[in-house]
Structures are given as C-alpha cells and as structure tokens.
C-alpha cells in the first residue's frame, strides 16, 4: 500500500483544514476529499471506508460530540467489525474546536483575547464550539462577530463565515507543534498517523 497518499473523509471545511495540516505534517497527500456534510453521512459510509482502506488508505476525522461517547466506542459502533490497518479513524475530543484552540498563543491573538482565557487543556471542555462562540461574543474582536456569530434568532448554530474564517486561521496561523503540547487527543492523533505512515507491509 502506498502510504504517501490517502482519501480524506471529513464533516466540514474546518475539519478539512485541520486534517490537511495533520497530513501535511506527516507527509501524506490527500488525493480525494470526501465531505460528509453532517454527522450522519460519514457514519453511514464508515463501513465502506473501512473496506476501501484495504486497497487505499483512508483518513477519517470526526468529532466525539459528547463526553458520553468514548472514541473507541464510536469506532466500534460505526464499523461493527475490526478496523483495517489502512484506515486511520480519529475522533477529535470533544469537537474540532478543541484542537483549534490548542494552539493557545495563536488562537488568543487571532480572537483578540488574553491567552489565559483559553484552557490549558482544551480537551476538557464539554462544548468547545460553544466556548469559542462565547469567547468571541464576550471578548473577541469586533470584526469577528459578524462572520463568526449567528445573528439573534438565527436557526444556524454558527455565523455565516464561520468555517471559512476559522479554516483560514488554521491554514495560516495554527501551529501543530504548539497545539499538540496542549491537546492530548490531538497528540494521539498525530502519533497514529505517523505510526501508519512508518509501518511497512
């Protein structure tokens, strides 16, 4: 199996940005990006991805969403059979935003807050996305409010440019070394990708 390339499966553009940074760090090129748009789609296709990974590596990145689900439990539930070696299945604890915030220095300056406002280990937050939105709402730069926050009464949970603006931050400023120091779940994910990459068959 060619370990320099993979199919990438993600739920949204922000996770995509994050996954690109991780893969790049490990020198793997995603040749195809499968965007599931919402929790349901990736889950529905997870068993097929596991089969695909017998022939071509697949990196799937999803959110844990609730502390009640444990990551190994999610994987078992989605796959209902053993995970193939070519399938890198990672679950961000609790949401991808924890990993985004884990580069505390860059994120604090991006939002315009003091670094102490961001937990030292963002993995412990129960609702990281909500945490980010509240941070922006209460203390963030003014010019981030319109793109990142949903307007009052909106049925959307995020602002109109949330994915694009946050994604841009990840591409441009987010540093994987600094971030992996703060988020154990991110560190484990990087380790898993590196292990896959270095294995020989």
């Amino acid at each position: 199996m060619d370990r320099n390339r993979c199919i990438l499966a993600v739920e949204d553009p922000l996770s995509e940005a994050m996954a690109h940074k991780l893969l790049r760090h490990c020198c793997i090129v995603p040749v195809t990006v499968f965007m599931g748009f919402g929790f349901g789609h990736l889950k529905k296709r997870a068993r097929e991805f596991n089969k695909t990974a017998k022939n071509f590596p697949v990196f799937l990145l999803t959110d844990q969403d609730s502390p009640a689900h444990c990551p190994p439990g999610i994987i078992d539930k989605w796959l209902r059979c053993p995970r193939n070696e070519g399938f890198i299945f990672r679950v961000a604890v609790i949401e991808i935003e924890s990993w985004v915030m884990a580069d505390r220095k860059a994120f604090a300056s991006f939002i315009g807050v003091n670094q102490s406002k961001i937990p030292e280990n963002p993995d412990i937050l129960e609702k990281p996305k909500e945490f980010v939105l509240n941070l922006v709402r209460k203390h963030g730069k003014r010019n981030l409010r319109d793109p990142l926050l949903p307007t009052r009464g909106s049925t959307a949970h995020i602002g109109p440019e949330y994915n694009a603006v946050m994604g841009e931050f990840v591409y441009q400023q987010w540093d994987i070394q600094r971030a992996s120091g703060a988020s154990p779940s991110l560190k484990r994910a990087i380790f898993a990708i590196q292990r896959f990459k270095s294995l020989r068959v």
């Binding site: 199919i7 995509e16 940005a17 040749v31 195809t32 990006v33 499968f34 097929e48 695909t52």
Partner: protein, 385 residues
Amino acid sequence: MIISRIQLKNWRNFRSVDVPLQRRQFLIGPNASGKSNFLDVFRFLRDIASTEGGGLQKSVKDRGGVSKIRSLAARQKPEISIEIHLADAPGEPPGWRYGIGIEQETRGYRRTLLTYEQVWRGNEQLLNRPDDKDEKDSVRLTQTFLEQINANHNFREIADFFQSVTYLHLVPQLLRFADSIQGRILENDPFGQGFLERIAKTPEKTRRTRLKRIEEALKTVVPLSKQLEFVRDESTGRAHLQTLYTHWRPKAGWQREDQFSDGTLRLIGVLWALLEGKDLLLLEEPELSLNSGITSQLAPLINKMQRTQGRQVLISTHSDALLDESGIDGREVLMLTPNKEGTHVETVSDIEDIKALLDTGFTVGEAALPRTKPSDINRLSTVVG
C-alpha cells in the same frame, strides 16, 4: 453505431487524449476544464460532414480559425488531429476508423489544410491522403473527402453518422423570448431557439407519441401539470407548446411556453432530444434548473430512453444528484483534470483511489466528483507553500 474511442492531439485545451467511450458517457471536471470543448469535437465532425453548407474551411472558420482551435499548451505549431473509432458496441473492435490532421497554411491565404485524412473499414484502409493527386494539387487539401458526396461514397455510412450528431444546451430564456429577441439562430440551433419549429417539423404521428411520453414524465415531476400539447397559432402561424394544469378553473385555459418555468422547458428539451434521433446525442449539463430530486432520475432515464434506439449519449455535468446513482459504472465517467500541459482525460475507474472507493460501494458522485471541486488541497499548497 457508437463512437467507441477517441484520440485527440492539440485540440483546444487538450494536448493528448486517448479514451474509450461507452454508450452512456458522463464528463466531469472543474469549470473551464474542457468539457464543452470535448463535446465540440463531435460537433466539429458534424459540421465538416454536413451537406447543408458544411465543410472543413467553414467549420474551422466558425471556430475562429486554426489558431483558436490549436492547443495553447502545444509548444511549436503542430497539427491538430482527431481520430474516431466507430463500433457496434463499447469495447468491440471498430467497424470504422476515421482520422484527420489539420494545420494552417503558413503563407498566402492562410487556409486550413489537411495534413492527412484516413479511413479504415475494419482492417482495410479505404483512404489515405495526401495521395498523388493531393501532392500535385495542394488546393485539394482544403477539403476533406468526408464533406464531398462524390468522394465519400465508400464511407458514406460514417459521413451520415457524423452528420446526424445532435447537441442540445437549451436556454429557456432564448426560447421563451424568441419573438422579442429576434435573435439569429445559430446553425443546428444549439441553444434551442428554434426548438418549437423543430417540434413542428416532426411528422404529426411521431410528434404525438413523443409529446405523450414527455407529458407522462412531466406529470410526475411538475406539480399539477396535466396535459401537454403542440399547437399552431391561427393568426401568427407560429408553433407553440401548451400545458393544462389541474387546479385552474376550466375556463382559465392553457398556458403557453412563454409561461413555462425554466425547469419545465429544460426538461421538455432534454426529453425531446433523447427521443428525437438514433445517433450520437450531446447533452450539456442537463441538470440546469432542475430540482435535485428530478436530476437524480436523469441517469436511469437516459438509459431507459437509450434502450429502444441504442443511441449513444455524452453528457457533461457538475451534478452530485445526477451522479449519486449506484447504477452508474465507473467506466461511464470521464474525468477532465486541467494542468499546465493541457487537460488530462481519464476514465474514473482507472484512477486508483477512486477505484478503491467504487469497489467498496460508493457511487461515482461520491467517489469521483470531490476531485473536480476546487479544493483546499490546492489552496493549502499556495498558502503554506
């Protein structure tokens, strides 16, 4: 008969193409990757073969000359060449092969000249130009034998085949406002301005059966539509389509095509085209204006319509809904990938990662379309360097 394989050199944004074609063939790729240019090859052959004022010189001129057609990616000024294999079914040995190469005269009139023209029936070569006469009289190279009735009697069959290629990219506004725009209708009416006249020219019995079938299809997709009819306006003599909807007062009467929705018009156009001929049909983005639920029925519908006539259909598309259909074979989809050396064309089932996805139950929409989308893969490399 279908086109079972095509080879191109230096045609617009393609420098080199060699792909097999199926009976139903989808073309996917980013914007400006060359899907329409690919379809134009077949229209070009039709224009050359056309007995109604076609020919090589005109077909090239209508496209802005050799310099517009020749690939900008080509380094020197090599010939443009097209080779077509015709077979009874996909994958079968070709019954016919036709090939031409063209270039521009470097001096004088700067006419378009053939560099070669070849025809094979099975393994027998019927034509190999330039021949002795061409060498003596180079003016002969300004015309193909394909376009000359006197010269193509040996291979009239393929001249007829090329001539009956149809292309449709119906633009509802052009049809709806045909009278007020008074636009010039392009040859072969690619945009459907003269669509109503085309319907009008069809023998009545055939017209009735076709409209009946379209009416059935419309009833299932356009809410409340009940009846579709062809009429001629008594005072103006113009051809019209009209529909009756169920909820209106009976007196409210019929609505004519200028009141139809964009989607209704497009769907009628696509269905009519599918029913119309028996030779190669080129469809540009049939999904336009259609609700995704209807779009998702197009692929099986095309297959169904093909069954009776066995005709070949080439379809350009950007639509997830159209391709998210388990019944589409990976060999039925060509992916166009632009790069500096010209657009690359390949069958999606030949691409390793896509094949792995298709083999494990993903649809071509899921497996192949993501590659055609502007992706962060490219952006990342520009941003991070």
